[in-house]
């Protein structure tokens, strides 16, 4: 009896251990990969460089002190570059700055009643020495105007409530949460001027990870560099990795609520299926595999389309999820995670570096017999930070 108990224990324990191992060590649904081409929605505006970058900026005088000016020629911009600072000529009566009137463009025009220095002309003394000039607030001797701190602002769209990871030159510097409309906003002043590559990836409510969007640009000193239009592609997953020809696979994921999703099935020709995300950002489409080649791999990816100011904007394409049509046993493990910790970062790069120039099979990611540039490229593509 003891032997039977012993054998049964071994069997049950082995099954339980195997199940636990599968559960604990299974790699995430889709590996995090980086984009394969540039997005055209990203723009940069630098508040503080003296250049007005519409539509984000209304003005940019360089210093952007936000202080009152006595004429429209000398007018200052508000810090943030979204509006002009008060000035004589803006058509708004500002008695706190010594204005008696402000007729906008008519200041100084005969008959307007208001002088170029925002004083009521009928009160002005007859020609002789002119009226005392209005006090100038553009400069106070002895005061110090602190330079704007060097700032970087990143904004875009991910998924409702998603955790958006921000990487700076490959290292994670922050995680922000997207709101219910999938908009996210990140800012930092903990940065010195120079050229940086920012990477952005997000995890949706179900735990799926997007690809990393990278943008390289110069951060200007004493100015706020704003990067807008970072549209993260939809997350994407598939319910079956393998299906018999004729069966249906369901492709689903998350994106910006109430936007159009375009799903592309790549197999010789391209099949495009369009759908709309619901109010929570979720989407799902069935793909009929009867038109696809049998006993072959196919991939499916997606992007989303949104409108802004009447213009159509398209996000970058998501990672391509492979699936197999036919019978047979496909298997794909998370590539480039050389130490198996679920991340592709400096630890894996260290291993690749160590075996550079050798034929070490762990580091030889493309299997061509040598650890060299293409293997470095594959590792950098899958980088998670």
């Amino acid at each position: 009896m003891i032997r039977r108990v012993f054998l049964r224990t071994i069997i049950i324990f082995s099954v339980a251990a195997a199940a636990a191992a599968l559960f604990l060590f299974a790699s995430p649904a889709a590996p995090v990969r980086a984009q394969s081409y540039a997005t055209t929605t990203v723009t940069i505006s630098v508040c503080g460089d003296g250049i007005v970058q519409a539509p984000t900026e209304v003005c940019d005088t360089g210093t952007n002190t936000g202080q009152y000016s006595t004429s429209s020629a000398n007018r200052q911009c508000m810090p943030g570059c979204r509006a002009w600072a008060p000035y004589c000529g803006d058509g708004i009566l500002q008695p706190q700055y010594g204005e008696q009137c402000d007729a906008g463009a008519m200041n100084g025009v005969a008959g307007s009643g208001c002088s170029a220095t925002c004083q009521i002309t009928s009160l002005a003394p007859l020609p002789g020495p002119g009226p005392a000039p209005a006090p100038s607030f553009g400069y106070s001797p002895g005061s110090y105007t602190a330079p704007n701190p060097t700032t970087v602002i990143i904004q875009g769209q991910a998924y409702p409530g998603a955790s958006v990871n921000i990487l700076q030159d490959g290292q994670t510097i922050g995680v922000v949460q997207a709101d219910s409309n999938a908009n996210f906003y990140f800012s930092t002043t903990n940065i010195s001027p120079g050229v940086y590559t920012f990477g952005i990836w997000a995890q949706d409510a179900t735990g799926l990870k997007s690809i990393a969007l990278t943008t390289t640009f110069t951060v200007t000193a004493d100015a706020a560099t704003t990067i807008s239009g970072e549209l993260l592609p939809p997350t994407i997953s598939i319910d079956k990795r393998q299906v018999a020809k004729g069966g249906t696979v369901t492709v689903s994921g998350e994106s910006v609520p109430s936007s159009t999703i375009e799903v592309h099935v790549h197999s010789g020709g391209n099949i495009i299926v369009t759908t709309t995300t619901n109010s929570m950002g979720g989407w799902a489409v069935p793909v009929d595999t009867s038109v696809l080649q049998n006993d072959a791999y196919h991939t499916v990816d997606a992007d989303f389309i949104t409108t802004e100011n009447g213009a159509l904007l398209r996000s970058t394409i998501s990672q391509a999820v492979p699936f197999y049509v036919g019978s047979g046993t496909p298997s794909k493990k998370l590539l480039a995670d050389l130490n198996g910790d679920g991340k592709v970062n400096l630890a894996d790069f260290s291993i690749l570096l160590y075996y550079w120039g050798t034929s070490n099979p762990t580091a030889d990611l493309n299997g061509d017999g040598i650890v060299d540039l293409p293997d470095l490229s594959i590792l950098l593509y899958y980088w998670t930070g």
Partner: protein
């Protein structure tokens, strides 16, 4: 007739090949031309342009320069878009070659509309015309050609490591011998102006069977936006020595990955990154409480669960037998 056919054939071949390079990336030297007097150290950038809708994430670059005519004073990775280096920019003066291998995670995808600068620099080389003419002698002014060697290549950020179609453009510099020039040293000036330390970074502690026989090692990497990274130093500080000032810790020059001497992970690990101007960024990491014993879920918890599971199974079966 033959000549005309030859021209037509040539044009067809050209037309056939050129589209292949329509989407080519380019690594080039900027400025492409220049005239400099001897005694003046001038900077030269190595830059990368991508083809349309293309991201490049790594490159191996070899530049040949005439070492008998041009002296390579320094090469800097300051403000480079590459953040990971397999081989930092190095001057091999005996061969007249400057080379580096590096990349950036996610790739460089071209200039973003609105960017005030090119933001595409890989490295900066500081050159000086080597010959200094003695007063009164008349020698012809030298000219120097910089060219990319055939081993120069770049890879696409496509997950497959595809070698990108690539064109390169070198440079030609001439020496000016007429006139009086002050010996300007732009590299020295850059070093003097640089007061900003390297960027902050994190120290990683890992172990893996494929490295150092599964012993604990430290990883560290950062960038410098001004004169570039010069070297790293590491110190393993026992808890009793933590109260000592930083310069009294046992510093050793190090490269990442670094095999730790203290394999019990009780020492605090400190790494300092130095840029070429000597500015220092210090980071510390105390591993004992936070580092997992391996990359996998905590092994000791797993074994407790396993032992309890076995005992539980045996008890359950005995109880079932009894009832």
């Amino acid at each position: 007739m033959k000549k005309r056919v030859g021209v037509v054939l040539g044009a067809m071949v050209y037309a056939g090949i050129m589209p292949l390079f329509a989407h080519a990336a380019q690594i080039y030297i900027n400025p492409a031309t220049g005239k400099y007097p001897p005694g003046v150290t001038f900077p030269v950038d190595v830059r990368l342009d991508t083809g349309p809708s293309q991201c490049i994430n790594a490159a191996e670059v070899d530049i040949a320069y005439p070492a008998d005519v041009l002296q390579a004073v320094a090469v800097s990775d300051g403000d480079s878009i590459f953040s990971m280096w397999v081989k930092n920019p190095t001057i091999y003066s005996q061969y007249g070659i400057i080379s580096f291998v590096g990349g950036l995670p996610g790739g460089y995808c071209g200039r973003v509309p609105g960017d005030p600068s090119l933001s595409n620099k890989l490295a900066t080389i500081y050159f000086r015309f080597a010959t200094s003419t003695a007063a009164g002698s008349s020698t012809a002014p030298e000219s120097a050609l910089l060219a990319f060697l055939p081993g120069t290549q770049a890879t696409l950020n496509d997950g497959e490591g595809t070698i990108a179609p690539l064109t390169t453009a070198g440079a030609k510099y001439a020496e000016i011998l007429q006139g009086q020039f002050a010996p300007v040293d732009t590299w020295q000036k850059a070093l003097e102006d640089d007061t900003v330390p390297p960027e902050p970074f994190a120290i990683g502690v890992y172990r893996d069977p494929s490295l150092f026989n599964n012993q604990w090692f430290a990883t560290f990497s950062t960038v410098d936006k001004q004169t570039g990274i010069d070297h790293y130093e590491i110190a393993e500080i026992p808890p009793s020595d933590l109260k000592l000032p930083e310069d009294q810790w046992d510093w050793k020059r190090a490269i990442s990955p670094y095999l730790l001497t203290d394999q019990s992970l009780t020492d605090t690990i400190a790494v300092r990154a130095f840029d070429a101007a000597g500015n220092e960024r210090l980071e510390e990491y105390t591993p004992t409480t936070t580092v997992p014993k391996s990359g996998y879920p905590n092994a000791s918890v797993f074994s407790y669960v396993a032992i309890l599971g076995v005992i539980g199974l045996v008890l359950i079966q005995l109880l079932l037998r009894v009832f």
